[in-house]
Symmetry: D2
């Protein structure tokens, strides 16, 4: 079959690779109809991880069940399914408590596994024609048959639940004000989720016009941090109080205010968003942090950052009595509910999709998405 | 001052009564700008309670602060405020835990007090020019100055929070399906609240065309129980599964299916909605019951009903592992958040208001509202 | 192998039956070391259910893994395990949300399955030498090897978690007062669990001296309802306020106060405990109802009771703003935590065990347990 | 009246000062019977804050109501009461949601006020004969009359609820394992609270033998960090897994392992405990941080620490998907429940009290407590 294979920094190719097989009675083979490129794929693509050439990319996968193992009970050939990016077993200590992003079975020695990702276990990615899905009854979310909502459903594999997870980590409840930092796909999904949950006002902070426009389109209040300090702008619109809750949809590759305006490359300041969240959130509030932070970053700006150690205004955090939640999204906790919102016509997350392309356009798509040119925001590949 | 005074069954008058006074340092006097007539006022109006002539009606009150006592700290003369229908002290065992509908201070010997209502303490109602508000810093919710959103804000005194309370009692979360029984003002507010909280599909059961139309208008799915069994209709639309959550916005004066079509008076069957909720809710679900049930009803259909004892399908409830929550709404738990949704333009509950009238039209409004003629659904009086 | 087989009302025998086999890749076969007789086994034993002769009893099972299917991943031959009485699949809509007592896979057409129980699916019971365990990785809870805590661990299959579930349904939190109705094994486990969770005072209502003595022994406050009205006794000890929370560990076969003292057979009044819970619980409180109620009871005291329809003081329930939770325990939600309390020496639930017997004593044990003679309270069979 | 007055670094005196008066209708005057010295008083005592000479110390206060203002409704002369260290109004946005430690009324411009503490508002301390208590109905917790449990109840003002708050911030639930760092009075109260809430095993980390002995006495597992790395010791006792939850009862004045053994002064490393919590907590766990961190510390070990900025292993925190909660305890959320546990004989927190002394021994007590000599751990002053 054809698959997107990592060749080395800034290089992927569509290669012929062996078809996956049923290796365990609970496996299923899924014929991929949609597989998205994720911002986190770029970490590997740019060579900023330990990923070795040969890895097949793709953790945002959806398709049709082609074959099932002898132990599979519910799933049937022909079922249309979307797969959470995290691979879970369903019965370990963490999975059974709902923490499927921290499965102890599928990636021995580590809490959590995923498809097509370095250090996340032996699972091949789905930017390919076929995908092996372990513990298939547990992992596959069944969708209505047909072609409807294809792009919306594809986003159930990762970014819609991940954005929603940000709202959940911050415990956003109806009537609250929220500040979402970052208006990339995950940030937009977080803002969208806050509004779905009934937030009264959702400030969305970024400095890319197109992203801020999208944020406004869905009902958010855009805040451009190149114009003025984001925290101050939000305070000015909340009688000085700040917001009830805040969400970091940026992560460790955050850049400083105003930097692009300065003409040069934006300066990376890994702790800037976290400290802004602390400043902008009112006492007794909470921070949701789905934006990625890593314990080891070879490309970190300094020795501390390389070890994932960041300087946090902990005194302020404490003084305000803030709570925070972090970590990878447990996709299965939310995906059935979000699917039902899509089916009912109450959510349409595909507004973030910029390109739908055949699999063999992947190398070009990676190149352009990495460079953020030609409006490449969110690409869905259709093998 | 002028006030709406109960004179006896089916009779109210606008009388001159003495002005209220500051009687305790924490009191405030509020000049009423809006006071709604509530469906529960009709229980007294129809003579189905122990209410004695002379009582001043009105527990859905809003206005401007006219005067404050020496102990009042935050509230200031001129502040525009809305008052929760429940009167709370703010410091008893129940108030301090947020159960302001069950205050132990304001109505000695009973858990809970209200303005202008029989057996709810000595507090006069607000269908009048002025209102005495005890523990004013605690009870008054401050609104933006001016006239904007007057009818929306007036609904914060009772029915918007009460409808929302139904969603909260049923713990409605994003993506869930809900069945709301009753599309009167509280039922519509419950359905509206479920949608604000992110429910995927909200079925609204009634048999009055205008109400079902309203339900549809706000995004609900109307279910007319005169056409066919409501439970069956909902099952048919949920693959036989029923709903995740259900809300009873009818209460003990429920009527049987089809009865008006039979040409006669609808037959009251006090347990019908509760048992339908049990049937329509899927195993592991929950029931929210803001609809009123009373421990003593002189007009009950039989001896058991007169004592508030109802025949419940408890075996089914248990088999399905359902949870349920009941009781009067603790308005203060929600009103600030719902106010902020109105201010942000994200909620506009006044769609239920059918009439805005001067105070001296109250007798006519009571008569027509009680008879449900001329489209009288929800009346706001402006003294 | 030998197994306890139901022969008809008031008759069980230890018969030779075929050994169970691995029928599905996720099955395991467990060699039973302990299997308890449960009060709910007596419903079948007494012929008050639709159970047909031939059924193998036993849903409180523990033992050693004898063999595993090809799909089993974690569980290994020789592992010491205890099995939740409910059989779950781990991946249906209900199991994945933690509602393993309402599995949609293992007992098609119904939410919930169990071992050795009428209408709970095809699963044979464990009062036998061997047991087939489906979805073994999901269902089996691994215990430390050896013989230690055997009787304590055996109670993890049902009654310890079920009692704990009562406390959870009532949301008992530290410092609260609780009334537990019923001091049979489940009631004692409920009271014990409330104390483990930090309740300040736990009233335990029964009229059997030995049970009330046990309740006192573990730190509860015994209330004998033959001496005086239980509700009044508890009010007298709580300054008239009643309790914060209450638990029904009796169910539909409740009997009236004072009846045995009257010399005759205790009169069954199926709604008595539920209405007492409503009376004894303070406004804003909650009721946990793990005690069994059924939608169909051929032996019910009247036509309504036969259909599981009970007369409930719903007006009072509403006036007090009470919440309630019902249903079978989802054993997997709690059993690992309760196991760890046993291992740490902080819980020792086996204080309720009255007899440990070899399997072939089962017929005699059923007879005596059913008659409540010779101190038969809780029997553990060791095949 | 006599009161403990701050005179400058390392100096307090018992002076004669004017009696407090009823200044607002909701005030009460309380005659102090017990007032404890808190570890946080030593920050001021040592001159490491902006506290000016003249301030009256004491925020852990209990006594008898001497007089009440005209607005006070429930409280009566002669009532025995304990006062939360935080002063709240009961009606601001934060107080009404239960965040009484972040009151917006009593200390204008800041969220939170307290008695006798620098920057926490104008409220005098209670290490004195009399105390002015604002919003007395809201702030005073009424106790049973008499002298019983005096020392236990005195701890309800601060350290028992503060320790409990640590358990609540970490959401410790029954059966979980917990690591508490710090076995001073708050750490011991945190460990004690975890056990009250049903934790299975509670590791308590310190390096002072007497404290570790106390921890063991109440059922904790002592871990001496001078013997070996605390994280490693705990991992060794949890099969390498670490704990479910952890609590920081040390705060910013943390010291490194082994330092006292080195014979010199312990080296302050303000982030050491936070990073150990991150290491010792298993993925999906939570951290409760009641231990004090401040946004401005003139005595900080470096420039960052002086601003409350700490280097945190955020990458690890994220990788593990941990949550954390911080901040001052909202005493009123817990104190009534903890009082009821004391009354019921289920909690006896006074085991931490080392000295009970008359008021005029305060100067000597401060001196010895600050030097940690003669077993001075927790002092209760009786004016």
């Amino acid at each position: 079959m054809k698959a997107v294979v990592y060749k080395g920094p800034f290089k992927v190719a569509v290669d012929n690779v062996p078809d996956p097989k049923i290796e365990h009675p609970n496996d299923a083979i899924v014929r991929i109809t949609s597989s998205c490129i994720c911002g986190s794929d770029l970490h590997m693509y740019e060579g900023r991880t330990a990923a070795k050439p040969g890895i097949i990319f793709g953790h945002e996968n959806m398709g049709l069940v082609e074959k099932v193992g002898a132990g599979v009970k519910l799933l049937q050939t022909g079922d249309r399914v979307v797969l959470p990016f995290n691979v879970g077993c369903g019965f370990c200590r963490n999975c059974q408590r709902g923490y499927t992003g921290y499965c102890l079975t599928v990636n021995p020695g580590f809490a959590g596994g995923a498809y097509g990702y370095v250090a996340m276990g032996p699972w091949r990615g789905g930017q390919a024609e076929l995908l092996q899905v372990p513990f298939a009854d547990f992992n596959a979310l069944v969708l209505p048959p047909g072609k409807k909502h294809e792009a919306d459903f594809a986003l159930l594999a990762d970014i819609f639940p991940t954005g929603y997870h940000g709202a959940e980590l911050a415990k956003v409840t109806p009537g609250e004000t929220v500040a979402v930092f970052g208006a990339g796909p995950v940030g937009l999904m977080a803002a969208y989720s806050c509004l779905l949950r009934g937030a009264s006002r959702v400030f969305v902070v970024d400095h890319v016009k197109e992203r801020l426009d999208k944020a406004k389109e869905i009902g958010g209040i855009p805040v451009n941090f190149d114009v003025a300090d984001a925290v101050q702008q939000i305070r000015d619109q909340t009688e000085g109080r700040g917001v009830d809750k805040s969400i970091d949809a940026v992560g460790y590759q955050a850049v400083a205010q105003g930097s692009p305006a300065a003409g040069g490359k934006a300066k990376e300041i890994p702790n800037i968003v976290l400290n802004q969240l602390i400043e902008v959130t009112a006492p007794t509030g909470a921070l949701g942090i789905p934006g990625l932070y890593v314990p080891s970053d070879p490309g970190g700006v300094d020795e501390a950052a390389k070890k994932g150690s960041l300087s946090i205004n902990f005194g302020r955090l404490f003084e305000k009595g803030l709570r925070l939640g972090t970590g990878q999204c447990n996709v299965k906790t939310y995906n059935a509910y979000l699917r039902d919102l899509i089916i009912a016509g109450r959510a349409k997350p595909s507004f973030v999709v910029s390109h739908e392309l055949p699999l063999d356009k992947a190398p070009d798509a990676y190149d352009k998405f990495d460079k953020r040119v030609d409006g490449y925001t969110k690409v869905v590949l259709h093998p």
